[in-house]
């Protein structure tokens, strides 16, 4: 075992140095930063997706008639927002102590709300983490106006009323919970993009040795397992080098644009930002190793650049499927889908980073990392044995089960 790791270290060190000290690595580092737009674009796209997929709910403390009028208005306006893009309304029966009820609602973390609408149609008042300019509040205004007009047709002389009074809070327990779901999705999305960008490189990782014949020198000196481990971890180290540079740049940018503090940073996820970032790196590492081990094994079978290029598209598609699978559980970290995604090795890192945003407990992460590491080892072992058989042609030749009989 010691020799296995020693040899892996020798091979990994060479790969790392050969890559990091090459001129092209500079492009690798500045690639994602150079067009800052890329980052901004991804963040924009990401938050759009995230916003749309997390339910936006406003609690409405109102009589049944007012609520019905508002819902009817929402229904009438619905064609204007195809795909159900409107804020959702949830009626809460008025309680004697309105202020206490409002605070209780804003502190709710199950089915988090954006704010509370009170005062019926006569004197509507919104309290929440949104201001007048936000889309959700403007939608509420539209609902109220439309409801008032509808009632005017029914006989009320005055169709207009006081404007919606808005009280904006900087943060509420409910908004934090809402932000956490977004963080969960954003975390997954980022993890997915970085993995998809970086793990693909492993497909061609064995090509160098195959084309310059150094594979013979390596395979005669160290076990194939060491070669695979060394190459995989070298690529991980190279990727982490890049990621650390990128994160540092992003933090610096947030600090500078935030006017000297981190006020632009969104509310912290359940485990806090430092732990979340650390877990992000850990889960990047495991997702990278899991997918990377598989890619390395698949890529090692290819003997030309053309074959690797042909393989890369279907493999990207597999990654997309994995990502979609991992997304199912967000918002319900204890649900069956989330647990299943956390157990299936390839989706596990994505599911767990989402969990880190939503649930405080840390022990499941330890369990998950161990579980994922076990799978990395299994995949590497399998990939190395297939490589020995099919590429080095070692031992009895490998045959697919359905071809075994025909070959005899």
């Amino acid at each position: 075992m010691r020799e296995l790791l020693r040899a892996a270290w020798v091979i990994g060190r060479r790969d790392y140095i050969a890559t990091v000290l090459s001129k092209t690595f500079l492009f690798f580092l500045i690639g994602p930063l150079f067009p800052v737009a890329i980052g901004v674009l991804f963040a924009g796209v990401g938050s759009n997706i995230a916003d749309r997929e997390v339910d936006r709910i406003v609690a409405v403390v109102a009589s049944e008639e007012d609520m019905a009028a508002l819902e009817a208005a929402r229904e009438r306006l619905a064609p204007l927002a195809p795909g159900g893009g409107f804020v959702m309304l949830e009626r809460v029966a008025p309680a004697p102590d309105a202020a206490a009820q409002r605070e209780a609602l804003l502190g709710r973390t199950e089915r988090p709300i954006l704010g509370v609408l009170e005062g019926g149609l006569e004197a509507p008042r919104f309290t929440g983490t949104l201001d007048e300019r936000s889309a959700s509040v403007r939608q509420l205004v539209a609902f109220i106006d439309d409801a008032r007009r509808a009632e005017a047709v029914g006989g009320l002389p005055d169709a207009t009323g006081p404007a919606l009074a808005v009280e904006t809070r900087r943060r509420s327990a409910s908004s934090v919970s809402f932000a956490r779901q977004i963080t969960a999705r954003m975390g997954q999305l980022l993890l997915f993009f970085i993995t998809i960008l970086l793990a693909g490189m492993l497909l061609s990782q064995m090509l160098e040795e195959k084309s310059n014949k150094a594979i013979e020198v390596l395979a005669s000196a160290v076990p194939v397992d060491s070669i695979f481990i060394g190459k995989l971890f070298a690529m991980l180290a190279i990727s982490l080098t890049g990621i650390i540079v990128w994160i540092a740049t992003i933090l610096a940018a947030l600090y500078i644009w935030g006017g000297g503090d981190f006020s632009l940073v969104p509310p912290p996820p359940a485990v806090g930002w430092p732990v979340f970032l650390l877990l992000g790196l850990v889960y990047f590492a495991t997702s990278y190793l899991l997918l990377g081990a598989a890619f390395l094994g698949i890529g090692a079978q290819a003997s030309t650049v053309r074959q690797v290029q042909t393989l890369s598209m279907p493999i990207t598609m597999v990654q997309v499927v994995i990502f979609l699978g991992a997304q199912l559980g967000v918002g319900e970290p204890e649900g069956a889908k989330a647990i299943a995604a956390a157990i299936f090795p390839f989706t596990s890192p994505f599911a767990m980073i989402a969990r880190a945003a939503e649930v405080e407990a840390l022990w499941p992460h330890l369990l998950a990392v161990l579980w994922q590491a076990l799978w990395v080892a299994l995949i590497l072992k399998f990939a190395a044995s297939i490589f020995r058989k099919s590429v080095l042609k070692s031992g009895k030749p490998f045959r697919w089960p359905w071809r075994r009989r025909a070959a005899r």
């Binding site: 050969a18 014949k213 160290v222 009895k396």
Partner: protein, 313 residues
């Protein structure tokens, strides 16, 4: 058991690639400290046998031990291997390449760098120490790889076709290096399809043809399988002395070529002189390894050795 200590041993190794038998029951025993030649035309199974013995690939059947260990990779630190298809990382400097090859086999990197510098100096490549491999000529790159093969001071060195691609001067240097390694107690196994190298260097050879070991033993043993050859030219084309030459003698005009009879040369000489054959020239030559090779492996295989072709090509 075997009295001599063996550096490498193979028993009935069999290897099949895609239904074609590359090695068909090869058995070898390489004594420790020997220079051991592995002879055969390209495609005879030399490289496959060596790769099995080194543990790069596992045989379909048969067993092998390297430095007494049935798992060759476990003794990789004491073994050096120069593959037939040379391969180095083109961007690495000569010194780093040598140190890296040493590191693969357990030599600490700083020691490897130190030794690399010395080795490069010792082989007239000092100017290239910090130059990338891609800037070296093919011969130089090959020398660098060879130095990387021995930088960790292995007990056993396996060289696959080490002479191919080298000019006459570098071939001579390589022979010197092999002799020096052996004098320091290192076992050297090398494969070649050029018999002359084996003849000059080896104590023991194996001759492989069509995936089978046709002969294994000392070079003298191989040569002693053949009788010495007599070349005779007489002034007289015929005479009673002809009865004292072997019946199988090959004649061309006044020239005769035949194997020396068991009885030795005296009787034949006396007859030639007594009957006035007029001896113009007479030589008795010990057969070379090439003749032995032809006798052992057959004319067809020997012809392939000359052209470098594979059997059936």
């Amino acid at each position: 058991m075997n009295a001599t200590v063996l550096a490498a041993e193979a028993n009935d190794l069999v290897k099949t690639f895609d239904g074609k038998t590359a090695v068909d029951g090869a058995s070898l025993s390489v004594p420790a400290g020997a220079i051991y030649g592995f002879l055969g035309p390209n495609g005879a199974g030399k490289t496959t046998t060596l790769r099995m013995m080194l543990g790069i690939i596992d045989p379909d059947e048969g067993r092998r031990t390297l430095l007494g260990n049935p798992h060759p990779l476990k003794v990789a630190h004491d073994v050096g291997y120069l593959p037939e298809e040379r391969g180095l990382y083109p961007a690495m400097t000569a010194r780093e390449a040598i140190a890296f090859m040493g590191a693969l086999r357990g030599l600490p990197l700083p020691t490897g760098r130190e030794r690399a510098t010395q080795l490069l100096e010792g082989h007239g490549l000092a100017d290239w120490t910090h130059q990338p491999i891609r800037s070296l000529s093919k011969g130089m790159a090959q020398t660098v790889q060879l130095l990387g093969t021995i930088v960790h001071r292995p007990r056993l060195v396996v060289l696959d076709e080490p002479f191919s691609g080298l000019d006459a001067i570098n071939q001579g240097k390589l022979e010197e290096l092999i002799r020096r390694l052996a004098s320091e107690g290192t076992t050297v196994i090398f494969s070649t399809h050029v018999i002359a190298h084996a003849e000059r260097l080896c104590e023991k050879v194996a001759i492989i043809a069509h995936g089978r070991i046709a002969f294994e033993g000392g070079v003298d043993e191989a040569r002693n399988r053949l009788r010495p050859i007599v070349h005779l030219r007489t002034r007289e084309p015929d005479g009673p002395w002809r009865a004292d030459l072997p019946a199988a003698a090959h004649r061309s005009g006044c020239e005769f070529r035949f194997e020396l009879p068991d009885s030795g040369p005296e009787r034949m000489l006396r007859s030639l002189i007594d009957h006035g054959a007029g001896i113009d020239t007479l030589s008795i030559e010990r057969p070379g390894l090439h003749d032995a090779f032809v006798a052992i492996a057959g004319e067809a295989v020997a012809a392939q050795m000359k052209t470098g072709g594979a059997p059936g090509q």
